[in-house]
Structures are given as C-alpha cells and as structure tokens.
C-alpha cells in the first residue's frame, strides 16, 4: 500500500488528467467523483513500481478509461449520454472553451478519447493504439473522422 505522501503527489500530478478523462466519458458529477476516487484507490493498492513517469501517466489514463467504460457498461445505466447533461459539466467555462468542449463531447466516445489523447496529451496514433489496445489504423480513422467533425463544427480556419 502506498503512503500518504505518494498518493497526495499522484493526486496533484494526475488529478487533472483523470478529471478530464472523466469529463469526456461521464455525464455527471457523482459518477466523476466515484471514478476519480476509484482510480486513486487503485493506485493506493497498486504496489508494483512504475518504470518511469510516462509509464505511470499511461497507467492512470488506462485505468481511468477502463473504469469509465465499466461504469457505462453497467446494466443500470443507459449507454447514451444526453448532450445537455454533458454540457452541464462545462457550463461554467468561458465561451470559447465551452464551444470547443461542447463540440468534442458531441463526438462518439471512441473519438472523444482519441481527440483528448492526441490534442491535449500529445500522444501519437501508434502510442494511442498501444495505450487503448487498439489497432493503429482504427486510431487513425477515429482521429480523421473527429478532425472532420470538429472542423465542420468549429470552423477550420486554424486547422492546418
């Protein structure tokens, strides 16, 4: 079991990443809180050392995505997330961010993940494929489709 200093450091370092992954998968605050806590609980009990900080970060991303998927798979929950509920999570943001995230949240879940991992975390398609356990071509396809939709929605003037 990891000590308090270690888990506090992890919360500071990876809290935002976990929170963002929750935002693109989950529809409400309660679920976000559940997953956020569950991920760090897993970390608390995960005794094996990480090879590097990159390795640790990838672990957090994978565990968070899996936890979100498990929650969404639960038979008690609907598989589709109403847009208005998703939007509620970003309602407090400034206009320009809300518009972008609103567009991202309108994408299918698999594209949302890829957009976040590529645009924000800076992973390449092969890295994302490895991280999510998916074929790299699937990732390329997801990325291309997501780009297309976002450009339509946000206007492609900056894209290049």
């Amino acid at each position: 079991m990891r000590d308090e200093a270690e888990t506090n450091r992890a919360i500071e370092r990876y809290g935002d990443t976990v929170r963002r992954l929750c935002m693109i998968h989950l529809k409400n605050e309660a679920d976000t809180q559940d997953i956020f806590q569950a991920v760090f609980l897993k970390y608390l009990l995960h005794d094996r050392p990480f090879e590097s900080q990159e390795h640790e970060k990838a672990w957090f991303i994978r565990v968070t995505i899996n936890a979100c998927k498990d929650l969404l798979k639960s038979v008690f929950r609907s598989r589709t997330v109403p847009l208005e509920e998703l939007s509620a999570q970003i309602a407090h943001l400034p206009d320009q961010h809300r518009e972008v995230l609103g567009a991202v949240l309108e994408l299918p879940q698999r594209e949302r993940q890829v957009v976040y991992l590529h645009y924000y975390e800076g992973y390449t398609a092969p890295e994302i494929g490895q991280l999510l356990g998916k074929n790299v071509n699937t990732i390329y396809t997801n990325l291309a489709r997501a780009r297309e939709r976002l450009r339509e929605r946000l206007g492609g003037e900056d894209y290049g």
Binding site: M1, E4, T7, N8, I11, E12, G15, D16, V18, R19, R20, M23, T32, Q33, F36, Q37, F40, L41, L44, L45, I90, L93, P94, Q96, H97, R98, V100, L101, V104, V115, Y116, Y119, Y120, L150, R151, L154, G156, D158, Y159
Partner: protein, 239 residues
C-alpha cells in the same frame, strides 16, 4: 484548432473539493486495510482462548472416576484427573439432602470422604450398624487404584465401611436404572441369586438391608417358589 482544443482541455481541472474528498477516502481505506489484520488477530486470539477455555474446562470438569457412596443415602462423587470432586450426584432423597448440606465440590476426594463420614447423618447411621459401601470405578486403572487406596485409608477406622473396586462398564447401566453404582452392583449380586428381584425392589433399601438379603439368599433361604414372590422379600426388609 489544435490550440483551441488544447486550451479548452487545459481549462478543466480537478476541483479542490474532489481532491480533498479523494484524499479522505484514501485515508479511510488505509485505516480499514490495517484494521482487518488487527481484527483477525483479535478473532484468532479469542478463538484460541475459547478453545483453551473449553478444553481446560472439559479437562478439569470431566470426571475420570466415580466414587459411589451408598449407605442409604446414595451419592456419587465424580472425581477428575486431579483427584478433585467435580460433580455430586444423588440417587435418592436422603442423598439429595446430604448433597445439599455438604459442600463437597472442588474438594480433594479424601477431604470429601472425611466430611461425608463426619456428617451427623452418616455418623449416626454407621453407629447404628449401617453398612457404608464405597465403590470406585473409572477408565483409568491407576487412578482407581489410587482412589481406592485413599478411600481405604480414610475409612480405616470404620468397621462397617467397605471399599471396593467397581466395574466402570456397569456405570451407565446403573445410571439407566436410576441407581448409584455401588447399589447397582449389590443389586446385580442379589439378582444373580434371585432373578425376580428388580431395581425398584432395592431402590429404597439401605446397603445393610441389601447385604442381609444377599446373605440370606446365600444361606439357601430361597426356593424357586419363594423367588417368585419378590415383593415378599421387599416388605420383609422394611419390617
């Protein structure tokens, strides 16, 4: 667009509240994880104590031998492996009264015997020529031998006291018949001479009466015809 997306995501942060509640949950989990080990240790300790307690209780409180004391009050003293009296069982009303008046439990069997012999009830009966039979029976021959020797030493000055070795296998039959072992063995002797005698016939008799009955039968005082009138004997002993 790349930059806009990056900036938008960058504006999302884990709220302080969320981090705080998570830290609290982790702290709880840490203490909860520690507790089962302690709880388990405590449970194991309790179990060990319980087993030792029950084992010790049984070890101490299980009679390994019995001393059947019969005069007319019939008592059976259960003696544990440490030669202490751990149970007192009476087999008739007189025995019950005697058991109630004397505190024999947890005494060394010799002290218990001495107290019994010194009790006014028994002392009076012995003075009047009553017979006291002490029958020792148990699974452990060594202990029985020791108890018998001890009982004989205690009663050395009493001529109407007979100490004998009983058959532990008959103990259960005796209890089934509602008799103490000493009386039951005397009954068996009597029954060998007169098959019509029942346990009910001897239940109310003193040891002296049973012994006298046996003696009279041994003298040839019975015939087939007489033996069929068991009640005749019975009433005879009350006169």
């Amino acid at each position: 667009m790349d930059e806009r997306i990056r900036d938008a995501f960058a504006s999302i942060h884990a709220e302080e509240e969320l981090k705080e509640s998570t830290r609290a949950v982790l702290e709880q989990a840490r203490t909860r994880r520690r507790r089962p080990a302690r709880a388990l240790a405590a449970a194991v300790a309790c179990l060990v104590l319980l087993v030792v307690g029950i084992g010790g209780y049984q070890f101490y409180f299980t009679p390994t031998s019995v001393l059947s004391i019969d005069i007319n009050p019939s008592l059976e003293l259960g003696v544990n492996r440490f030669d202490k009296v751990v149970s007192v069982q009476s087999y008739n009303e007189d025995g019950q009264i005697l058991a109630d008046t004397l505190e024999l439990k947890y005494l060394d069997y010799r002290d218990a015997l001495e107290e019994l012999l010194a009790s006014p009830d028994i002392a009076d009966r012995l003075a009047q020529g009553a017979l006291l039979s002490i029958t020792v029976a148990g699974e452990n021959e060594t202990q029985c031998g020791r108890l018998l020797a001890g009982a004989e030493a205690c009663t050395a000055g009493q001529e109407n006291v007979h100490c004998r070795h009983g058959d532990s296998e008959k103990l259960e039959q005796a209890h089934h018949a509602g008799l103490s072992l000493g009386k039951y063995e005397a009954f068996l002797e009597l029954q060998a001479l007169d098959p019509t005698v029942t346990t009910d016939d001897v239940a109310g008799l003193t040891m002296r009466q049973i012994r006298d009955w046996i003696a009279s039968l041994e003298r040839g005082g019975t015939t087939v015809g007489e033996s069929q009138t068991g009640h005749g004997h019975h009433y005879g002993w009350h006169e």
